[in-house]
């Protein structure tokens, strides 16, 4: 019985869909845990539903005038005769999600030297040598690479210096930064620089230069001293001490927000996640990236070993994330970067944001690598693969190929096209597709083709485990949910 005045009609009078079936809008689903599924639409909006509800949705049997029906309608999983603006809105949302692809290559990695004072067990590329001519990038190469950098239409350009140890060719870094800023007076992009360094050579001169040009530093901190030193040996056996001293020096000189650290996970790391996190806390670092075990080694592991590795790493990740959530509960903000990325992807209307987890793949169209010798690679992993003997994803050389030769090369376009997740078995109907990505180089390296069989893929297994874990936290643990949502950057 309506409590409204006589002039007003009840809601039934405004429902043109009351006794008609609804129509389905494009959607996908994936199993989440016992009996629950993630249902996602074409642009990544989602609902967690049990199987009964999922089935009634697909079979068009959801009763009208229920909260579930209206949730499905409002989130564009269905449409009915009462409204047809859903198509316009979905089209707009799809366009928004895809828009970042058009912005194109934003991340440009310059491998300024292969020389390094370390001999890390997991590194494929560095050379312990003093031969600068053989393994340093030249100014001529840098100039050609910069030509290509500014051909990218991206409004934001990030130049990241890699190696070996980039500071061993600090002169060239200075040259590139100044030359890039000079050219940028014309191009007017949002230009940023990062140096990834082991910090052995972090002199006052380097720090002043970083401050002057607002350069970020990124270093490797694998964990407590014994772990770090065993992962990352150098003459003098003091890599941990050098690293933390360098971090502190950079924090004091440049500011805490100007230096970050990454860890590389090895077998030895797997049992020490809390100690690793404690090391980060002790060194005033605000975030950690619990990176997976790399499949690139001096021998690529077989598929079974791949997935076993993922299972073991996932226990490491869960333990780490639980510990980090507890730290946050105690009032200290400390972020796990990969989780933050995933939460952002789950909630953001914008696409991309992380070159290693996007479709179309980030290879060349989001990030590109200019090697010391001018060779251009679709990604850092492509460069590592070349170091191991397979140059499949070498796209050309800055001295001999043009921008068009490189970005329109057959190998690149074929790779991007054939690895698009919407076209792949298991991916094309997977509920996590809007948040996931495609990794042609990884699948080529581990299975021999850029698509691979996802049932055998460590990439798929890892991502699915993380999606399921994070979504379950968001759905069922309100404390964890609040913390994770506070990590979201808008």
């Amino acid at each position: 019985m309506s409590l409204l005045g006589k002039k007003f009609k009840g809601i039934e009078a405004f429902d043109q869909a009351a006794n008609r079936t609804y129509q389905l809008l494009p959607s996908r689903f994936a199993a989440l845990d016992d009996g629950r599924y993630l249902l996602s639409n074409e642009v990544g909006e989602y609902l967690v539903v049990d199987r009964k509800h999922l089935e009634s949705y697909v079979k068009k049997q959801v009763p009208h005038d229920t909260d579930f029906y209206y949730d499905l309608k409002s989130k564009h999983f269905l449409f009915d005769d009462d409204s047809n603006v859903a198509i316009d809105l979905l089209a707009l949302k799809y366009r928004t999600k895809a828009q970042r692809i058009a912005q194109f290559t934003a991340l440009h990695l310059f491998v300024v030297s292969l020389r390094c004072d370390y001999s890390c067990q997991y590194c494929q590329v560095s050379r312990q040598t003093d031969d600068k001519v053989a393994f340093d990038m030249s100014e001529e190469t840098a100039d050609k690479a910069l030509d290509l950098v500014f051909r990218s239409p991206s409004p934001a350009i990030k130049i990241e210096f890699q190696g070996g140890e980039p500071l061993l060719n600090f002169n060239l870094i200075q040259y590139i930064v100044k030359e890039a800023r000079w050219r940028n007076l014309v191009h007017q992009r949002d230009l940023q620089f990062v140096i990834t360094s082991n910090l052995s050579f972090l002199s006052d001169e380097v720090l002043s230069f970083c401050q002057e040009h607002n350069i970020q530093l990124s270093t490797s901190l694998d964990g407590p001293e014994s772990l770090h030193n065993s992962n990352r040996p150098r003459p003098g056996k003091n890599s941990y001490q050098l690293t933390v001293d360098g971090i502190q020096k950079a924090q004091n000189f440049l500011g805490r927000d100007k230096i970050g650290a990454l860890m590389t996970t090895t077998e030895r790391s797997l049992s020490q996640v809390k100690a690793i996190i404690d090391t980060y806390l002790e060194n005033n670092l605000d975030c950690i990236f619990l990176r997976p075990l790399s499949p690139y080694g001096f021998a690529i592991k077989n598929q079974q070993a791949q997935k076993y590795d993922v299972d073991r790493w996932f226990e490491f990740y869960k333990e780490g994330l639980d510990y980090i959530l507890e730290i946050n509960r105690q009032g200290h903000t400390f972020v796990e970067v990969y989780t933050q990325l995933i939460v952002n992807k789950l909630l953001s209307p914008f696409g991309q944001g992380y070159v290693d987890l996007q479709s179309p793949a980030g290879a060349a169209i989001s990030a590109i690598v200019y090697n010391y010798d001018g060779d251009v690679y679709a990604s850092d992993e492509a460069r590592m693969l070349a170091e191991m003997g397979d140059k499949k994803f070498r796209l050309g050389n800055v001295h001999t190929e043009s921008y068009e030769d490189i970005w329109l090369s057959d190998v690149l376009l074929d790779t991007l096209e054939s690895s698009l997740s919407e076209s792949l078995p298991m991916c094309s109907d997977c509920g996590f597709l809007p948040y996931c990505g495609t990794d042609p180089v990884y699948h080529y390296a581990t299975q021999g083709d850029v698509v691979g069989n996802k049932a055998l893929s460590g990439f798929c297994s890892k991502n699915m485990k993380i999606f399921k874990y994070v979504i379950r936290l968001l759905e069922s643990d309100s404390d964890a949910r609040d913390i994770l949502l506070s990590w979201v950057r808008s």
Partner: protein
Amino acid sequence: MKTHELNFDVRVFSLDTVKRALYRFSDKCSFDIQLKDNDITVTLHVKTDEDLTSKIKNEVLDQDLRDTLSKETANIRTLILANAFSNTGLIQ
């Protein structure tokens, strides 16, 4: 290595649906598939002792739902994408 047999009626579940479901288990088993009259016979060779038959049957049910979803929404998906890439003049 254990062997199990599963049967599906092709009038209830299409061959495609069954194949797609089986594909997801290719890390754990290999299959022989035969179609005779209306009967799809799947012979599973499972690498471990795990009993996958109920999981596979459930996956076939899920794939069947996916099949319905994709068939029913194919046209409207094309419409949405065409609309998305026409010139709407509005970029967020």
